[in-house]
Symmetry: C2
Subunit: 232 residues, 2 copies
Amino acid sequence: MPYSYALGMAPVVELIGRCPGLVLAVYAHPGYRAESGADIFEMCEARGLKCETNQKIFNIAANKENIYVLGVFQKAGGCLSPARPHAVFVNPADAGNLGANVRTCLGFGIRDIAIIKPGADIYSPKAVRASMGAIFHANASGFASYQEYAEAYPGYERFYFMLNGEAEIGSIAGVRGDTFALVFGNEATGLPDEFRGYGGRSVRIAHGGEIDSLNLTVAVGVAAHAFYKLRR
Amino acid sequence: MPYSYALGMAPVVELIGRCPGLVLAVYAHPGYRAESGADIFEMCEARGLKCETNQKIFNIAANKENIYVLGVFQKAGGCLSPARPHAVFVNPADAGNLGANVRTCLGFGIRDIAIIKPGADIYSPKAVRASMGAIFHANASGFASYQEYAEAYPGYERFYFMLNGEAEIGSIAGVRGDTFALVFGNEATGLPDEFRGYGGRSVRIAHGGEIDSLNLTVAVGVAAHAFYKLRR
């Protein structure tokens, strides 16, 4: 579907504030009560958007959740910046994890996000919610394969996060500039070994032997934080 | 309840391997098929435990999930080590987050976990699964209040992770020894300001202004990783 839903006040506020051009409709549930200083009707009016009261749409889009504000938006097919850092998610399985990871990347200065398909939909309601609306600050684009992505941004310095990566993350002393990409695999399988042949460095995050791997959300957090510090 | 369930092969393998003394029963679903080299019946037998085939228990404990192996275990009320690092979770709301955070701590060398009540049950099936069984390598203990915890381990060097902590995590140059504690608040509210008066340092993890906070799982990951590096 070319459109999706932002469910709940926080994601809708991000949607109308950051991407008003993508808004198709905003709805309030009949049970909606404005909090002081945050009335969705006023906020929409201030941006020339209309907010309607409607019950039916909540039954359809919000299932049985306690949601009182809902935004319908057009999925944006953005182009990644050729001058800023990228995060690349290869075949992400879970939309909630993807949304949380986009939020983390954004927090650590990476707003350009490539999704290698097949993978979760970054604009699904679950991803939007897990990102707490951060997806509307990001700039995301899907690619049919990693090769397609890599060919589109050939000059990028690439870091592949793998369990048995050659460089420990603490040994990376710097990046050449802002044109680098952090590449992460699927939650269950990680990045396949063949990525070692794709040009770039394989990186591991050292941890103790009590666990066999970090979960992806933590790996993205540690990695994005480390590169954020390298750039400051 | 004094007992809980480990659902699925991986958590059950951790349970019987790490904490055989806590095992009350192990069950296989009638539809269970052994993978080569990982037969739950053989693994139980090798440890002097009995594994029974039973369908009914799966209907009760595993709901509608596709689970074929199940362990019933006694919840352990451990004592924290007075000589190793601690992670302290104050009023954690979600058992899945708690399990994932315990896994992260364990991966970065912290196996002693304090839970300040009220809070999620670290031995709930959801926490056990999210930890992928790592909870059975950990040593967890509940406390009625933060004061109770702090009085039990008075010599500990304490680090309170707060949005507006005084020290940026990168500025922490070392720890005095292994007797330190990383203290984390609830997912939604973080640590209340009053923790500043409890003796210790408040720490923040710097991030960009595009988001108002990191999610707790990421904060725990970045924090535990930073202290893991300090100790190596």
